[in-house]
């Protein structure tokens, strides 16, 4: 494992930040910063764009010029930056509600236009900042504030959307496996064209508690059991972490 150096890309003076105890968005912040450093990005040639939500607050903690855009439109803002400044590394980091629900239309079309940007979707299966409502990634049957009898719908399949294009990069990784996260993010950032990675995560405060977990660690342990890493090419199964690209 390479040396962990996140200080170059994180405004450490602003930590611990706005997130709840037991939240893993700060891990996403730190580990993304480590990958930027490993890839020898410069603070002056990298921009992070986020939308709205718990994950959407991440942009302001990066030690580089960043944009906290409105709800759902981060990919459009990022494509605008990239078009104006083709040499810049432009990275979107936001949540599943922001990118896949209100921002879903932009995922369809930004991926189709294939600009050389990377989108990191932290998928915690819930609207956290607003207290725990159903997101497009909430599992069928899960109880939330807006699905008191259990969510009735299947989850949105981001892999199928992204891979419907001729050229695509879809990665799925998880916040409990940081080495894998860094590997997948690194590949995504090196990919020429639109790359989308889903980071499977969780929210203890607004989802886990309601569902009967006693502490965040219990959610991590369960996630560890349900996902496995694959090196196989091609479409990832629902429980697989890996890269599907063409």
């Amino acid at each position: 494992m390479s040396e962990i150096n996140y200080t170059k890309f994180v405004k450490t003076e602003k930590l611990p930040g706005v997130w709840c105890d037991g939240c893993f968005v700060p891990a996403l912040l730190m580990q993304s910063a480590v990958v930027f450093d490993q890839l020898k990005f410069k603070n002056s040639d990298t921009a992070v764009v986020s939308g709205i939500g718990c994950t959407g607050r991440i942009a302001g903690y990066f030690n580089l010029d960043s944009v906290h855009s409105i709800h759902g439109r981060a990919a459009s803002v990022a494509e605008g930056i990239k078009t104006q400044n083709p040499k810049m590394n432009v990275v979107v980091i936001s949540g599943d509600g922001d990118l896949l629900s209100i921002g879903g239309n932009h995922l369809l079309h930004t991926s189709r236009r294939n600009p050389d940007i990377t989108v990191i979707c932290y998928n915690n299966e819930i609207y956290g900042l607003t207290g725990g409502q159903t997101s497009p990634e909430t599992r069928k049957g899960n109880i939330t504030l807006t699905s008191p009898q259990g969510s009735k719908f299947n989850r949105l399949n981001a892999q199928k959307i992204v891979s419907s294009n001729d050229k695509y990069f879809y990665g799925r990784t998880a916040i409990f496996n940081l080495d894998h996260f860094k590997k997948v993010l690194s590949e995504a950032l090196k990919h020429k064209g639109f790359s989308f990675i889903e980071v499977m995560g969780f929210c203890y405060e607004t989802d886990g508690r309601r569902r009967g977990y006693k502490k965040p660690l219990e959610m991590i342990e369960e996630m560890k059991k349900s996902y496995s890493v694959t090196e196989e090419q091609g479409e990832l199964k629902d429980n697989e972490l890996g890269i599907n690209k063409n």
Binding site: D65, V67, S69, R73, N85
Partner: protein, 333 residues
């Protein structure tokens, strides 16, 4: 050399003259000719999936250091409203063109109207102070587009150009080279050169530090914001005024309507606001000279209510639709 140019095309030419580097838009009648021009040009161009993406692509490109513009009509302008508020809050300069047609909703897409006047002023949630210009000739479409880009740079905010289907599709001759307007360039550096600047729609200090729980800060900030816009707007206090000592009535009209009002200047005094917002200060002293003030507009009294507020008295309004002629206006006066 004089050339035959269309209103929408003149807006494109003005944007080119002002140094535009990026355009994003979505097709909509009666604004589409503007994007057709950009599609053919060397300006970076994206046909977006909708108007929300259009304006957010512009926000990104503007923060990236570019001069940017998008053009639309009422329905698209409605979709852009949340992002317009963001651009005011996050200080993102851009030009937005709204070529008006009859609404609400899909309304009468090919028929010109002036029903978005209040949407330019109050369309987004929260308080903000937009500069809005409204040309009434093809040459003015060109000139005011350059002024709009300049005012956007000076206020670091979106500036709106209102047009209507009639002005948009009007052909007139003018010499592009003969119009003299200075071009103001961006002072702020682009993303990447700002040493960790954070742009956000949350209330913040100039360095990006959040102030989301500080009402005192807000109270100072909102006054400064308004003063800043007013100060810049003062340099663009454009209006036309035809005095008429023999008349006790001042007619107020803008856009295509003002062209028709001009034919009545022997009978009435005529005032045309070119800067629609903030309302030009001179209107007060001019209106004082007349017993009766009548706002003639292609809506149900939007600018009439603005003028009434500014003058502190209820003024009269004439609403016209479809047949924008001297006879119809005279008949209603």
């Amino acid at each position: 050399m004089k050339e035959l140019i269309q209103g929408n095309q003149a807006i494109y030419l003005g944007a080119k003259k002002a140094g535009i580097s990026f355009y994003a838009g979505y097709p909509i009648t009666p604004a589409s000719e503007i994007m057709h021009e950009f599609a053919k040009s060397d300006v970076k161009f994206i046909q977006a999936e909708d108007e929300i993406a259009s304006i957010n692509l512009c926000i990104g490109a503007s923060l990236g250091g570019g001069k940017v513009m998008t053009a639309t009509s009422g329905p698209g302008f409605s979709l852009m409203q949340e992002s317009i508020g963001y651009a005011h809050m996050a200080e993102v300069p851009m030009v937005i063109v709204d070529v008006q047609r009859v609404g609400p909703s899909t309304g009468m897409p090919t028929i010109g109207a002036q029903q978005d006047v209040m949407q330019t002023r109050y369309g987004s949630h929260g308080d903000y102070f937009p500069i809005v210009f409204y040309p009434n000739s093809v040459e003015e479409c060109f000139k005011l587009t350059i002024d709009a880009f300049n005012a956007a740079e000076r206020t670091m905010s979106p500036v709106v150009i209102l047009s209507d289907a009639y002005i948009a599709h009007l052909f007139e001759t003018f010499d592009v080279e003969s119009v003299e307007v200075d071009v103001i360039n961006r002072e702020r550096k682009p993303l990447g050169e700002l040493s960790g600047q954070h742009f956000t729609g949350l209330l913040h200090e100039s360095d990006g530090t959040l102030k989301t729980m500080d009402s005192d800060f807000y109270n100072k900030w909102i006054v400064e914001k308004k003063n800043n816009v007013d100060k810049v707007a003062n340099d663009y206090d454009f209006y036309d005024y035809f005095e008429n000592e023999n008349s006790d009535t001042l007619l107020i009209g803008f856009g295509v309507v003002s062209r028709v009002l001009n034919s009545l200047k022997d009978k009435y005094a005529i005032f045309r606001p070119i800067r629609m917002f903030p309302v030009v200060e001179e209107l007060k002293s001019i209106a004082e000279k007349y017993k009766k003030v009548v706002v003639v507009e292609m809506n149900s009294g939007q600018y009439k209510s603005v003028v009434s507020g500014v003058l502190g008295k209820e003024v009269e309004g004439v609403s016209i639709f479809g047949d924008v002629s001297k006879e119809v206006i005279l008949n209603k006066l």
